[in-house]
Amino acid sequence: MASSIIFILLFLGGAVFFTINARKVRRNILLGKEINRTDKFSERVKIMSLVALGQKKMFERPIPAILHLFLYVAFVITQIELIEIIMDGSIGSHRMFRASLGGFYTFMVSFIEILSVLAFIGTIAFLARRNLLKVPRLVKNELNGWPKLDANLILISELTLICFIFMMNGADEVLYSQGLSHAANLGDGSLGLSISSHLGPMLFGGMSPEALHMIERIGWWGHLVMVLGFLNYLPYSKHFHILLAFPNVFYSNLEPKGKFTNMESVTNEVKAIFDPSFVPPIVDPNTPMRFGAKDVTDLSWKQLLDSYTCTECGRCTSACPANITGKLLSPRKIMMDTRDRLQEVGKNMDTNKGEFKEDGKSLLGDYITPEELWACTSCNACVQECPVNIDPLSIIMDMRRFMVMEQSSAPTELNGMFTNIENNGAPWQFSQADRLNWKNE
């Protein structure tokens, strides 16, 4: 009884706390500008099935893809077990589905156990790739400090969680064989779990029933606490991608990658120049007009969703020609900076009753420097690489627009190029009248 109450309080507490934090993230994302990504529904479902659910782009690099698949599938399937944990926890039963589901139950739990072993192997390999093998994209400067710790914490908790699962199942197997388990005794002498029926006796055989019950309970509660802890850790971590990857891929840009947005505010001005009778749509005078992006609130909600979805895997950066050749630009850092600044803006709002209080900072300048932005060749390699369809290039372009159109701070040579186009219709100093001269040369 007491344990049921503790369970329910713990579970509800975890769920409520997560909801509060998830809503904050949602609010932060919706600080972004409107952009329509609800067209072509069936195409969106398709791309989500392939890229998010099917991990299509991950398989461009097979080794991490397979290791990641172990963790991913284990994660998804293990959630089924959670249903039983919730039921057992609330009403004080033990393996309540076992009697009714029979062989299917044994199969499911056995399957989860096998996946857990694979996930264990995957996790160890991931820890090694980061900390021993030092795969270049996983040890770059922008990961120093919290991002590195974050990645390792996730992997270590994954290992801990799997250990708890095997404590729970292993001890229960030993107890069951002695007729002491609280699970319904079907007179079969073993729970029949694929891994634990062997691992349990190996690890815990010969222990006293009290010790076994204790280990089983530590495993069970530990499992629960890890799951709830994990859930609540997500909004603070790159690990949020396990949830956000799905909406993020659903709302992908479906246009050709080379097609950049035509800024409507500019179109209205240009149209008015070409056609004096053109009446531009009325703009709400309360919304300050700004060309391009200086801060996160100038970006679209999709760009902000991108930033929360980023897994910090660095595939983008490892394919970026600027980064490969030692420039400061790293598309991963663009995404991490965007999220960090957005979190900062969100916290600012939390402490000021939901209103943002000017803090004299902005994404451009305080997080991302012009030098980074001017190194981009707009080659789209980062967009192509991203396994969850994030578009770092669009943020770079929006910030260039701000630098050029609001600050007039383009590098001098580019200003020269602009002047040439304006005056001669070519980026160089050649007269438009000479455009066909090649014909007779």
Binding site: F260, F274, G326, A375, N380, P411, E413, M417, Q432
Partner: protein
């Protein structure tokens, strides 16, 4: 100069005067009009079009920059001014179909002009070449590149930006050459370093130039020719090859030039 006398390059205005319209408009682009190296590519394209009896026209002095470098540099205002100017001219001539000699012009005209009122069917010159080969309007049997090693460098604005990977390759198959792929090719191709208006500025501080990184990768295959499909890639790769003192053994040529040379045009 004799070879150039054969070039037939009518303008849209010429067609208009005759009350006719061409099959296709050849959008030459700024590099193709003014850059000495790129002008050779332009001429190669014209030679092929002439040879295949394609009724084409150029805008000549009525053509102006598409605005691509301005847009990628962040000057949306200048881009749209250029776009509107060009659209006025193109729509005035009722242009339906355009071939470009440059992937940047191709991308901009194809993707970014429609929303501003410019709707055309736009193809890159390698796509047109493929079309002409497929329909038998040009034929190649081997020729001077037979057995030579050629590797193609994907232009970002043709490849990733617009998913055109096969057209240039299927054109080059006709050369009977040995086509080699770099490790980073097609969707994973590495940029030459010129895009995003980098062509018009000094590179930011780093430890290597992008074109050196890319040329190194291409040269590692010991090719006879590095094939390109973009005048800017051409400049970058040519400079890269020179950097490694390989300009006497490795040629950087546009796909159009390969076809023109194979046909001895």
């Amino acid at each position: 100069m004799s070879e150039n006398q054969q070039l037939i390059v009518p303008t849209m205005a010429d067609y208009m005067a005759k009350g006719e319209s061409p099959e296709i408009l050849f959008w030459v682009g700024c590099a193709g009009s003014f850059d000495d190296r790129a002008k050779k590519i332009t001429k190669a394209i014209v030679k092929i079009l002439n040879h295949a009896n394609v009724k084409f026209a150029v805008l000549g002095t009525e053509e102006s920059c598409t605005g691509d470098p301005a847009k990628r540099a962040g000057n949306e205002f200048l881009f749209q001014m250029q776009a509107m100017t060009n659209i006025t001219v193109l729509n005035g001539y009722e242009v339906k179909r355009i071939v470009t000699g440059c992937p940047h012009c191709f991308n901009t005209l194809k993707n970014e002009y429609p929303a501003l009122g410019g709707n055309y069917e736009v193809v890159h010159h390698t796509q047109l070449l493929q079309e002409l080969l497929d329909s038998g309007r040009i034929k190649i049997e081997g020729g001077s590149f037979k057995g030579k090693k050629i590797t193609f460098h994907d232009p970002c604005y043709l490849g990733r930006a617009n998913d055109v990977y096969e057209a240039p390759r299927s054109v080059m198959i006709n050369l009977d050459a040995e086509l080699l792929e770099m490790k980073r090719s097609k969707a994973n191709g590495l940029c030459c370093g010129a895009g995003g208006a980098q062509m018009f500025k000094e590179a930011e501080k780093g430890n290597k130039e992008v074109n050196i990184e890319r040329s190194e990768e291409a040269l590692a295959l010991n090719p006879d020719v590095i094939a390109v499909g973009c005048p800017f890639c051409n400049t970058m790769m040519t400079d890269g090859v020179k950097h490694f003192n390989k300009e006497n053994t490795v040629k950087v040529l546009d796909v159009a030039e390969l076809i023109a040379q194979a046909k001895d045009l």
